[in-house]
Symmetry: C2
Subunit: 192 residues, 2 copies
DNA sequence: TTCGTCATGTAATGGGTTACATGATTAC
DNA sequence: GTAATCATGTAACCCATTACATGACGAA
């Protein structure tokens, strides 16, 4: 996941670790933001694998002091990224990966985009079913807090299904207009 | 987390591992459901710690064949659970723990409940601010997919803030009526 | 008698975290 | 000159997962 995100960002432009992490939080912060303790070792691994390379054109202000290791993607890295982009199976619509895949949809083939969105929707529909069943069968035994939690859970799954359906419709229509949120987040804040 | 959830469920009634996992998925499935590979070792650890005990009243149908190890909570386990219930600091409103805490709010002190809800809201408000800032500053450079993702992220954070505010209001009012979802999930499905 | 599901467990692995350590650069 | 933040890295650990292995029980 980190690997995929890093390749995607470096595909756009070379970056050093610290800055990379900032972009990571901004772009994928919906999901999580990574710690340096996992970022730097990952960068080293990826370099060993040949997917990225350190730009040794570093400032060299004082002699010997290398700071700011800027990484760029290599040809092999681009290949690897393309491979990951093409991944349209279940792993692509798993919780940990889905958001990152969507973030790179701009570079993903249309058919793969559709597969991922539909796969994700299918999975969310299953989840909705499960949640509905739980609510149906145990509602009476639940206290108010558990109930509130369950309903919120169900609600957010339903919302995701709707959101996905909108995106899918746009895909099928050719993806001309911008897909928008179900709620009107942008127009008026916090009105219910 | 698993530990906390297990103690809470065993507090209600003794259960064996397999059944425990089912309840876990039903009650906390909003967050995640655990695999046996983590459940069973956890049960053994908790038994060693003295928080739970295996009921060896198992069926003994054939001699020597023990199946269905039913666990019950011990006095020490109850103490430990109470300790976890009382935890109202940042760890209680972290993503991984918050839902479980809410699920056990029925057994949590009112003041702790409020602390957790307000702590969570504070954190979500920060997150909202961050997301708004990202949208404000990079909207123009974002493609449609990234934008859709970002807006959905912001929307769900805003929703959580509203949900928390409702719960907090109910807490302050004495918690008489059932706290409800913002959207009308229960009344009419899938109308926006 | 065989298949599905109930039931328990282990081993290897993975993917991250926190805490720690170090030092340069910038702003006051 | 000193504090904040930029910047990189390591080591110990944690909590989970997957894959594997085993076997009882009930139903067709």
């Amino acid at each position: 996941m980190l690997e995929f995100a890093v390749l995607g960002l470096l595909q756009e432009s070379p970056l050093h670790g610290y800055e990379l992490r900032r972009q990571l939080s901004a772009r994928f912060g919906t999901v999580r933001s990574f710690s340096f303790g996992s970022l730097y070792p990952t960068l080293n691994r990826m370099q060993s694998a040949g997917w990225i390379a350190a730009d040794d054109t570093q400032a060299a202000g004082k002699l010997g002091t290398r700071r700011k290791v800027t990484y760029r993607i290599t040809a092999e890295g681009k290949e690897r990224f393309a491979e990951l982009l093409g991944e349209g199976g279940p792993s692509a619509w798993a919780d940990e990966n889905f958001d990152v895949h969507v973030a790179f949809f701009g570079q993903t083939e249309a058919s793969t985009r559709l597969r991922i969105l539909e796969g994700r929707r299918g999975r969310m529909e299953e989840k909705r079913e499960e949640r509905e069943e739980v609510l149906r069968s145990t509602r009476s035994r639940m206290d108010d807090y558990t109930l509130a939690l369950q309903q919120r859970g169900l609600d957010s799954v339903e919302r995701e299904v709707r959101w996905l359906s909108e995106l899918i419709d746009h895909e099928r229509a050719g993806g001309a207009a911008k897909p928008r949120q179900t709620g009107s987040t942008t127009t008026g804040p916090t009105q219910q």
